[in-house]
Each structure stands twice: as structure tokens, then as C-alpha cells.
Symmetry: C2
Subunit: 296 residues, 2 copies
């Protein structure tokens, strides 16, 4: 299976599960809330996190089926963060994945609730994974809460808020990116390991890999915000410069930032060398290069 086929397959399986979970029933009084949750989750996205969950399960010898509900969980957690991030009180962004943001379509109040309710569904999807044991599902719930919550992604969003319209030192930017962007990628790799009952050492390696590609992902994002194509990206560009936000590009300059991204990509690939003989490992090595060179 090529990387592209494996990504499409993971997206398809995850979307089918999300479709089952978020079924709108027109007869209910809270119908609109389900529609709002569904709207953002079903917008076409890269689905990198679900792919990582499923591929890391396969990488450690697990049946990919075991990982699908965890993949749906991380995608719902990711989506809720986008909905809340786009709110007027946060980034105030009217465009997401090429379409009007959730609050533009459904109103601010419903968008807040849709994010909240998606977070509940994310934990439920992990807790209810009948292909894994209760113990595995508890580990998955804990991983989602730790990497998603105050000491993970949400903590990163808080640092991001505080860093607006000011220059922050590199260690703070590193902490911000590690939490806001890399946390959920680490969590995705870890969830795959949990589904496959991988060892502690394998889990640590997966989390570390997620941190590395997370930073590469962010540096590429910073560069795309500067030079990207708004149509390809499906979101507004030029926001960082307009908001006077510190990025790897603003702190290091474009060349040094690109060099850092290359170095981190090499480190991420080195961490995968033990798996280089497997098809899964080969696809993940290819993904590292793709994240570095992506234009959307």
C-alpha cells in the first residue's frame, strides 16, 4: 500500500465511524447541535492524526481495526480545538478548511457547545472501543486528556493567546508549539501504540516522533502563512505577520527556520529506522518528507 492509499484508507474508515457517531435525528429538539458538530468534523481535511493512529497500530503489529475508534476520537478532539480557536474571542477566523467557520454558520453560542459536545464524544469513542480491553481504553482516555488538556494542546492555546502582538523568546515558542501543535500528533502515535499493546519504550519513541514532526509541521505552517496559496490551504494566510506574532520564521529568519525543519525531519526519520524494513515504517518515513515539503 502506498502512503497516499494508506492515508485515504485511514480517512475513509475514520469518516465512516464519525458518520455513525454523529447521526442527526431531525425529530430531536437539539438537532441543530448535532448538525453543527457534524459540519466541522465532516469538512474535508488531511486527517493526518487518524492516519498516524492507524499506522502506528499497524507498525506495532496491531490489527488496524483496533485503532479506528481512537482515530475518530483524536479527530473530534482536533476539530473541537479548531472550532473554539476560530471563535471571535480567540483567533476570530471566518474561514476553515476552505469553508465558513462553525460560528459563522451556526452562531457563536452553538459553536461553543458543538466544541464542548465533540470533546465528550471524543472521550466516549475511546471509552467505547470494543476491539480493545477496558484497560487499553482507559489508557486512551488518559492520553486524550493529558495531551489534549491544560498541560497539552489547551495549555498551548493559552500560551498562544498570551503571545499575541508581542515577541516571545524561542524557549517559549518551543513550549507553545510542543503543546499546541505537537501534542496531538504525539497523542495520535501513542494511541496507535495503545491499540497495538506496544511496549513502554515503543510508546516513548512514538511520543518523541510526534514531537519532532509536530515542530516540522508548525515551521511549515509558519512558512505557508508567509508564502502559501490561500486557495490550496483553505484558510486565511498572512495572519501571523498581521498580528505581529512570533513564529519560527520571525524569530530565526526563513532560512534558519527551514534548516531547523530539515534537521528535525532527519531526527524523526532516524527514530523510525528500526522500523525501516516494514511497509508501515517506509510509509511513515515518506510522511516525514511530505510534511516538510507540503504546500497545503
Amino acid at each position: 500500500m502506498t502512503l497516499s492509499d494508506a492515508m485515504l484508507d485511514a480517512a475513509r474508515q475514520t469518516e465512516s465511524t464519525l458518520d455513525d457517531i454523529l447521526t442527526p435525528e431531525a425529530a430531536t429538539n437539539h438537532h441543530k447541535l448535532i448538525l453543527a458538530m457534524r459540519y466541522s468534523v465532516m469538512l474535508p481535511g488531511k486527517r493526518i492524526r487518524p492516519y498516524l493512529v492507524i499506522e502506528f497500530c499497524r507498525l506495532h503489529g496491531g490489527d488496524p481495526q483496533k485503532a479506528v475508534r481512537y482515530a475518530a476520537a483524536i479527530e473530534m478532539l482536533h476539530t473541537m480545538s479548531l472550532i473554539h480557536d476560530d471563535l471571535p474571542a480567540m483567533d476570530n477566523d471566518a474561514l476553515r478548511r476552505g469553508k465558513p467557520s462553525n460560528h459563522v454558520v451556526f452562531g457563536e453560542a452553538t459553536a461553543i457547545l458543538a466544541g464542548d459536545a465533540l470533546l465528550c464524544e471524543a472521550f466516549k469513542a475511546a471509552a467505547d472501543n470494543t476491539f480493545c480491553s477496558p484497560k487499553q481504553n482507559i489508557s486512551a482516555v488518559n492520553a486524550l486528556a493529558e495531551f489534549g488538556g491544560a498541560d497539552g494542546m489547551m495549555g498551548g492555546q493559552q500560551i498562544d493567546l498570551q503571545s499575541e502582538k508581542m515577541s516571545v523568546p524561542l524557549p517559549v515558542l518551543d513550549d507553545l508549539v510542543s503543546k499546541k501543535t505537537a501534542s496531538l500528533l504525539s497523542c495520535s502515535c501513542l494511541l496507535g501504540c495503545i491499540a497495538a499493546d506496544a511496549s513502554k519504550a515503543e510508546k516513548n519513541r512514538a511520543v518523541d516522533f510526534g514531537q519532532k514532526i509536530g515542530k516540522v509541521f508548525q515551521i511549515t505552517d509558519d512558512i505557508l502563512d508567509l508564502r502559501g496559496d490561500q486557495k490550496l490551504l483553505g484558510k486565511s494566510i498572512g495572519k501571523d505577520a498581521k498580528n505581529g506574532k512570533s513564529t519560527y520564521v520571525s524569530l530565526l529568519g526563513e532560512e534558519k527556520a527551514k534548516k531547523l525543519a530539515c534537521e528535525l525531519t532527519e531526527q524523526a526519520k532516524e527514530a523510525l529506522l528500526v522500523y525501516a524494513d516494514s511497509d508501515s515504517g517506509k510509509r511513515l518515513l515518506e510522511l516525514c518528507d511530505l510534511l516538510l515539503s507540503r504546500d497545503r
Copy 2:
């Protein structure tokens, strides 16, 4: 133990656990987020939900210690709903539990994140309950997600939003209250049953009891919004009439609403008669009367 002592004891144990969970570390970059989470959770409240969790555990022969983390979980879920409910885009309320609302103190963006992060911590507190089995903890996570999420409390908040500035028929108000107010009370009783490994029938009875007292709670709230003492209540009053909101009082009239609350209280107490010989049962019977006659 008197009802009042049992409630104080449950509050003390829950607050001590919440204190442990939400420890601010000044050296972290996302320090402010933890402070915001802590601020709302630690405001003095009635802590009825934690009390119900712990008392329903005791009622079914469980060691109360097994229920404390579930009690902390439901209090965090409840608190996050208050933080988001008070936001300008939702109820726009500047006063909560007698103090400035979260967004008034910390700003809207941090208040949104604090609610999100409390929701993560709620699930983590349930998942991490070492006094119960992984299977029990999975049931607790599922209960929090089902009674808290789109088909529970959050769905009720959505119906509430849609019902503003218009008159809704009684069945819609019943659905709204059942979801928005009663859901978390049912969930509290159920969590106590889960901690005590109670039977399916006992769990169903507990959920039903929560629904009954939840509606009583809401009718009393509606009457207090009309005639209550803002200082005793610690929140703004007269909001329902000002917003032209449908309540049991506006739809049925004050006398009929009071009568309904009395009938529901009797039904709730009847459901507890099987436990009337135990100290736990007696305290819960007393609680029913207290919820009917409360002035705060």
C-alpha cells in the same frame, strides 16, 4: 451523620481532590489557564452533585472513598458548563456564585479554554480512579459523556439557546430541563451506583430519581429567579422575565408550578422508600424536602 454533615463532608473530600488535581505551578507558561480553571471550581458552591455521587455509593454499600474522584469529575463537568454558560455569546452573566464570572476575571478566550480543559480533567479524574476497576472507570467515563454531552446537558443548553425570547410548549420545556438540569443530577446518582457496583435496576432507579429532583430543582430555580434574594443566591435574578424566557412559572403559573414541584418531590421520595431504613436513605429523603424549600 446528619444531612448537613454528610454534605459538608462530601464537599470537603471533593474539594481536597480538586485542589490536588488543579495545582498551579507558577513556573509554567500556561500558569494562567490553571488559575482560571481553579478559580471557578473553588468558588464556594452547594456541591449537591458530589454529595449525590458519594451518598449513592454509600446507599448501595460502597466505600465512599471509591466515589470521590467521580464526585470531583462531575463537579468539574458542572463547573465547565457554568463558565461557558456565562460567556457573552451565551447567557452573558457577569456574576456567578457571588463572584465575578470567569471571563470577567480572566478574559473570554481563557474562559473558553478553562472550560475545555476542565472537561478534559473531568474525564481524566474518572479514568484515573484507582479505587475502582478499569471497567467501572470506563462506565463512569461513558456516563459523563452521555449525560453531559450532546444528548444530555449540552443538548439541553442548545434547546435553551433556541428557546430564548420566545414561548415554547411544555413538552419542549420538559425536554430542556430534563437535559440541561436533570441530566447531571441523574449522572451523579449513577456514578455513585457505578462506584458501588450496584445492579442495573438500582442504576435505573438512581437515574430516574435524578430526573425527578432535577425538575424540582429547576422549578425552584424559576421561582427563585422571580422572588429570590440575589445576595443569598449569589447570582443575578429576574433574568427569565427580562429575557422573555419560558419557565414552569411562565407556562403553568406560580401556583401550578409549585404544585408540580411538590408532586415530583413525593414521587422522588417514593422511589427511595426501599432505602428508608438506612441512614443514607433518610438523608436523601431529607434532601428532597430541602430542594423543594431552598432559598439559595
